[in-house]
C-alpha cells in the first residue's frame, strides 16, 4: 500500500521544489510513550546543523495516555514563535490522527505507523507509512523498552525525508544518554532502520529540506525553568521552599540539581542552598518570609493557584517589608484551569495581591537570558527594596526548549540592601526600622542574631511607628503608607527598564512583554512588509519605568499585546497613565497557546484597516 500512495502521480506533481530550513514538524503522540527523547534528539540535531529551531510541547494534564503534540519549528530567519501551521506530521496517536492530518499544510508530509493501515484522505499531501512496531521489535530491545525506542523510527524516517544529518543525530543521542554506549547504539540502530525504510521504499522527497547553515553558532539550547533555576543558584539564593505545581516544578528540580552540583561542599556534603518541599503554598511562602526576615536570600516557585494561596503572606511581606521572591510560572487560569497550557493571566493578581492597598514589584522575563539574569535581579531587588518581588515567567518560556547565547556571568556583586551590623549600631547609637533616612522610602534593617542590645526590632503586620512599635494612630498609619508609596517610586527607577526598538518612520507603537516577544518580533516583520513599520517596547517590570510613558506619548495610540483574556497589561497601563488611557489599545488572546505572529499582525492590521 505504502508504495502505491507515494507513486500516485497526482500527488507527486503538486511538489514545487524544496523549501529549505523554513517549516514546522509536529510529532503527535500520546504522553508517557517516551517520545520526548526522540523530539529533543531531532531538535538538537537540527540545532547542531546550525539551523535556528524552537521546540514547543503541547501536553495534557495527566501522566500517560492522552494526546501530546510536539512542534519543532525550523526557521532560517531565526523565528522562534509558535506557528499554527505545520508541514511535516509524525502521526503517532491514532486518537487524533484524523484531525492532525486535516490540519497538515497542503504539500505536507505525513508519517504514520504502517500498522494503522490508514486510507489516504487527502491528495495534496504525501503519506509515509512506517513499520514502527516491526522495527522496534527488530531492534532487539527488551519488551519493556520497545514502545520507547519505537519513537526512534520516526527520527530515522525524518532524517532521511528532510535531510537531518545522521551524524548529528548520533551526537544528539550521545548527549542525551550521557555517552552510555548501549543505549546510544540501541537507539541509533532504530534510527538507521527508520531511515533505511524510507530510503528503500520511497522516492526521495524534496519538499522540505534541512540544510546545514550557520545560524546557531555559539548558542545553547535550554528551557526557561532551567535558566531560572541556574540563575537563582548564581543569584545566591540560600533558602528555597516550594510545593510542587505544574509548570513550576521543573524550575525547582533544575535549581536543586544545579545547587547540589555547585553549592554543596564536596568534602562535607554541606550545602549553602537549603531546598525544602513544603506541605503547601501557604507554608512555602511562610518559610520564604521567615528566611528573608532572618537575612537569607529566599524564593519559592509556583503557579496561579499557589499565588492565590500566598495572598495573605504577600500582604505581610509588603507591609512588614520583608524580602521575598515568588516565581510564578504562569499557566492557564482561572481556578485549576489548564495546568499544562500557557497564559499571562496572573499579571493583575500579582500586582495587586492581598487585601488593602498593596502594589508589588513584578519582573517579566522575556527570554532565556532574562530567566537567568532575573535569578539575581529578583533577589537583589527584594533585598534592596525589602519587599516581595514576583517574577512572572510562563509555561512557554519555562518548559520549552529555546536557543540562547550562553549566559553572561553576573558582574555586579550581590545587592544585599540596607542591613546594619553591630558595628553600625554602635556607631549610630541605634536605629529606627521604618524611618526613611535616605528619602527613598526604604528603611534600614538588622538581622536577628546581630550582637547589639539595640539591634532588635519587632516585626508585625499591624500598624506601626517608624520605630516598629505598635500604633493605631491615624497619622502613623498615613505616614507609613506614604513612605511605601515613595518606595514604590524608588522601585520604578531601579527595576529592569523596558527594551525599546524605535524605528524611524514607525507608524505605530507596540507594547508587549514576556513570552510574547518572539511572536511580536515576527509580526513586526510582517507588518513592515505590509507597509506598517512599528516601534516596539518590551516591558520587563512593574511598576513601569518612566520611559514607558515617554514611549506611549510618542503615539496617538499604542497596541498592547497580552496573552490573557482581559488585556491585563493594557489595564495596568491605563491605570498608570489615565491621561493616555484612551490611546491604549488592547489586543488580547487567550486560548492556552503561545501567541503567533500571524494572530498578532492580523489583529493589528485589522485595527489599522
Amino acid at each position: 500500500m505504502a508504495i502505491d500512495i507515494q507513486q500516485d502521480p497526482s500527488l507527486t506533481q503538486v511538489s514545487k521544489g524544496p523549501i529549505i530550513n523554513d517549516f514546522s514538524i509536529v510529532a503527535a503522540t500520546i504522553n508517557g510513550s517516551g517520545s520526548q527523547t526522540a523530539n529533543t534528539t531531532l531538535i538538537r540535531a537540527l540545532f547542531k546543523m546550525g539551523i535556528p529551531v524552537n521546540g514547543k510541547n503541547l501536553f495534557p494534564s495527566n501522566i500517560s495516555g492522552l494526546p501530546t503534540w510536539y512542534t519543532i519549528r525550523v526557521s532560517k530567519d531565526g523565528y522562534v514563535a509558535r506557528r499554527d501551521e505545520y508541514e511535516v506530521l509524525v502521526a503517532m496517536n491514532r486518537a487524533t490522527q484524523e484531525e492532525d492530518i486535516q490540519k497538515l499544510a497542503s504539500n505536507g508530509l505525513c508519517l504514520f505507523p504502517e500498522e494503522w493501515k490508514l486510507k489516504p484522505t487527502r491528495s495534496d499531501i504525501l503519506y509515509y507509512p512506517m513499520p514502527v512496531a516491526a522495527l522496534a521489535k527488530a531492534s532487539g530491545a527488551d519488551a519493556a523498552l520497545r514502545d520507547y525506542v519505537a519513537n526512534m523510527v520516526y527520527v530515522g524516517a525524518l532524517s532521511e525525508l528532510i535531510g537531518i544529518e545522521l551524524g548529528e543525530i548520533e551526537n544528539a543521542l550521545k548527549f542525551h544518554f550521557k555517552g552510555k554506549a548501549k543505549a546510544i547504539n540501541l537507539n541509533l540502530g532504530v534510527v538507521q532502520a527508520g531511515a533505511e525504510h524510507i530510503r528503500s521504499n520511497f522516492a526521495p522527497s524534496d519538499r522540505y529540506r534541512a540544510e546545514r547553515m550557520n545560524g546557531t553558532a555559539g548558542q545553547v539550547l535550554i528551557e526557561g525553568n532551567s535558566a531560572a533555576g541556574l540563575g537563582a543558584v548564581f543569584g545566591g539564593v540560600s533558602v528555597v521552599a516550594w510545593y510542587p505545581i505544574t509548570p513550576s516544578t521543573s524550575m525547582i528540580d533544575s535549581l536543586k540539581e544545579y545547587a547540589d552540583d555547585l553549592r554543596v561542599d564536596a568534602a562535607t556534603g554541606e550545602t549553602t542552598c537549603a531546598v525544602v518541599q513544603a506541605e503547601d503554598e501557604l507554608a512555602a511562602i511562610g518559610m520564604v518570609i521567615g528566611a528573608g526576615w532572618a537575612g537569607a536570600r529566599s524564593l519559592t516557585a509556583t503557579a496561579g493557584p499557589g499565588i492565590s494561596l500566598m495572598s495573605e503572606f504577600a500582604g505581610l511581606s509588603y507591609f512588614a517589608e520583608i524580602p521575598a521572591v515568588i516565581w510564578d510560572i504562569q499557566r492557564m487560569g482561572p481556578s485549576t484551569g489548564l495546568p499544562t497550557r500557557v497564559s499571562q493571566g496572573d499579571l493583575l493578581m500579582a500586582y495587586f495581591a492581598s487585601h488593602g492597598d498593596t502594589r508589588h514589584v513584578v519582573l517579566l522575563p522575556g527570554n532565556m537570558a532574562e530567566c537567568f539574569e532575573f535569578g539575581t535581579t529578583s533577589l537583589d531587588l527584594a533585598e534592596e527594596l525589602q519587599t516581595l518581588v514576583f517574577v512572572l515567567s510562563d509555561l512557554d518560556l519555562g518548559m520549552n526548549l529555546w536557543m540562547t547565547d550562553p549566559f553572561k556571568y553576573p558582574e555586579q556583586p550581590l545587592k544585599r540592601g540596607k542591613v546594619l551590623t553591630a558595628e553600625d549600631l554602635a556607631r549610630m547609637g541605634g536605629f529606627a526600622r521604618y524611618r526613611d533616612v535616605d528619602g527613598d522610602g526604604v528603611g534600614q534593617r538588622t538581622l536577628p542574631g546581630t550582637q547589639h542590645p539595640l539591634a532588635a526590632y519587632f516585626t508585625r503586620g499591624t500598624g506601626h511607628t517608624d520605630e516598629a512599635t505598635y500604633s493605631e494612630r491615624p497619622d502613623d498609619w498615613e505616614n507609613n503608607l506614604r513612605r511605601l508609596v515613595r518606595k514604590h517610586e524608588t522601585a520604578r527607577k531601579i527595576v529592569p527598564a523596558p527594551i525599546t526598538d524605535e524605528v524611524e518612520g514607525a507608524k505605530i507603537g507596540i507594547i508587549s512583554y514576556g513570552s510574547n516577544d518572539p511572536g511580536v518580533q515576527e509580526a513586526r516583520d510582517i507588518l513592515k512588509k505590509n507597509n506598517l513599520p512599528s516601534s516596539y517596547m518590551r516591558i520587563r517590570a512593574l511598576p513601569f519605568s518612566e520611559s514607558v510613558r515617554e514611549f506611549v506619548e510618542k503615539f496617538d495610540y499604542v497596541y498592547v499585546i497580552d496573552n490573557n483574556f482581559d488585556g491585563q497589561m493594557a489595564q495596568l497601563l491605563r491605570l498608570d497613565m489615565p491621561d493616555k488611557a484612551n490611546g491604549i489599545v488592547s489586543l488580547a488572546k487567550c486560548d492556552g497557546l503561545p501567541l503567533t505572529a500571524r494572530w498578532i499582525s492580523g489583529a493589528i492590521l485589522e485595527q489599522e484597516r
Partner: protein, 347 residues
C-alpha cells in the same frame, strides 16, 4: 558588642545581664490573663540560663497569646506573623540561621484551628524551636468563640455549648513524631520554668502546651481550662529540675525516684515521678495516658515524651555550619568557571 558594664550593685547573670535586660514592653492583655504569667516565666528562664537575648528570635501568629512576644525579651528580634502560620515562618528563619534560639508563642486557635496543618508539619520536620501553646480553649482576641481545644459540652457566654470533641495538641505532636512533648499550667510557675529550661535544651521541636486560662472569656468553672478546674484536677506527672551544664546542681532527691533524660546539648533533665510511674521515652504509654486523661477529662502535666534521636531540619538539609545568612558572596555565588562549565555542558 559595646554594652556598658552593669553597675556593681545590680544582680547580673553569667553573661553580665540584669533581669531587666530580658523584659519586654508592658503587656496590654487583661489583668490576670494566664498568658502574662507565661511571659514572666520566659523572662525568668532566659535570665537564669544566661541566654544572650540577641541570639533569640521570638515568633508568633495572631491572638492574645501571639501578642506576648512583645512583652518579653526586648533585645530579641520578634515577629508577629499572620494567623496560624508561625510554624512555617519559624521553619524558614531557623533554616536561614540555625544558630538562633527560636521561641514560638501561639494560641490554641492559632495552632489547633487555622494552624493545625502547619503545626503538624513543622513538628514532623523537627524544626529546632520551642513551641509554646498558650491554651485557653477559646479565641480570646476575637472575644470568646470556641477553639478546637475547647471541651465538649463546655458553655461560653456568647457561643453557647460546644458540641465537638477537643483536639489534644500534645497527642497531635506526639503522633507527628515530636521529640519533646510536655504540658503544664500557667498557674504553676515552677513547672513551667522547669519545662521551658528542658525545652530550650532540646535539639528539635519542643512542644509545650500550657493551659492558660482566659480570665475574660473562659473562666467558667465547668471549663477544664479555668483556674478552678485546673487547680482541682491537675494531676502532676513528674517534677522536673533542670540541670544546666555550666553549673552542676546536685538535687536533693531520693535515689530511685528519679529518671535522667539526656538532652542533645549534654544537659540532663531529671524527672521526679509523682504520679503513676511514667517513662517519658515510652510513646505508647504517653499516648495511652493522654487518651485516658482525655476520656476522664483531666489533664496531665509534665514531660510526657522525649526522644533526642531525630535529626532536626537544618541537619537533614545539611546546611553549612556557618548560618546561611552569614555566608559571604563567594559562598553564595559559584565562580565564573562553574557557569562556563554549565554552558559548555549544554552545548
Amino acid at each position: 558588642m559595646t554594652v556598658a558594664p552593669p553597675p556593681k550593685n545590680t544582680k547580673v547573670n553569667m553573661i553580665g545581664l540584669e533581669r531587666a535586660d530580658y523584659k519586654g514592653k508592658p503587656s496590654t492583655l487583661c489583668a490576670g490573663c494566664g498568658h502574662d504569667s507565661i511571659s514572666a516565666q520566659i523572662i525568668a528562664v532566659c535570665y537564669e540560663l544566661s541566654i544572650p537575648p540577641t541570639n533569640v528570635i521570638k515568633l508568633s501568629g495572631i491572638g492574645c497569646s501571639s501578642k506576648t512576644p512583645a512583652y518579653y525579651l526586648n533585645q530579641s528580634h520578634g515577629f508577629n506573623t499572620v494567623h496560624g502560620r508561625m510554624p512555617s515562618v519559624a521553619t524558614g528563619a531557623t533554616l536561614a540561621n540555625h544558630k538562633l534560639i527560636a521561641i514560638g508563642a501561639s494560641g490554641d486557635g492559632d495552632t489547633g484551628s487555622i494552624g493545625l496543618g502547619q503545626f503538624k508539619h513543622a513538628v514532623r520536620r523537627n524544626v529546632p524551636m520551642v513551641y509554646i501553646v498558650e491554651d485557653n480553649g477559646v479565641y480570646g482576641l476575637t472575644k470568646g468563640q470556641f477553639s478546637a481545644t475547647a471541651d465538649e459540652g463546655q458553655k461560653l457566654k456568647y457561643s453557647g455549648v460546644n458540641d465537638l470533641p477537643p483536639l489534644d495538641l500534645c497527642m497531635e505532636a506526639l503522633i507527628a513524631d515530636c521529640g519533646f512533648v510536655a504540658r503544664s499550667f500557667s498557674g504553676d510557675p515552677k513547672q513551667v520554668q522547669a519545662l521551658l529550661k528542658a525545652a530550650l535544651s532540646h535539639r528539635g521541636t519542643a512542644v509545650i502546651d500550657i493551659i492558660s486560662p482566659c480570665v475574660t472569656f473562659n473562666n467558667h468553672d465547668e471549663s477544664t481550662k479555668s483556674y478552678a478546674y485546673g487547680k482541682a484536677h491537675e494531676e502532676i506527672l513528674q517534677e522536673i529540675t533542670y540541670v544546666a551544664p555550666q553549673q552542676e546542681i546536685t538535687v536533693d532527691y531520693e535515689e530511685g525516684t528519679t529518671r535522667e533524660v539526656k538532652m542533645h546539648d549534654g544537659s540532663k533533665i531529671i524527672l521526679k515521678k509523682l504520679g503513676p510511674d511514667h517513662d517519658p521515652t515510652n510513646k505508647y504509654r504517653a499516648m495511652e495516658l493522654l487518651e485516658r486523661a482525655h476520656q476522664e477529662k483531666h489533664f496531665l502535666t509534665g514531660l510526657l515524651y522525649v526522644n533526642e534521636e531525630r535529626a532536626t531540619l537544618p541537619e537533614l538539609v545539611k546546611v553549612t555550619d556557618t548560618p546561611l545568612v552569614h555566608l559571604p558572596q563567594e559562598k553564595l555565588r559559584p565562580g565564573r568557571e562553574a557557569l562556563a562549565k554549565v554552558m559548555a555542558d549544554l552545548g
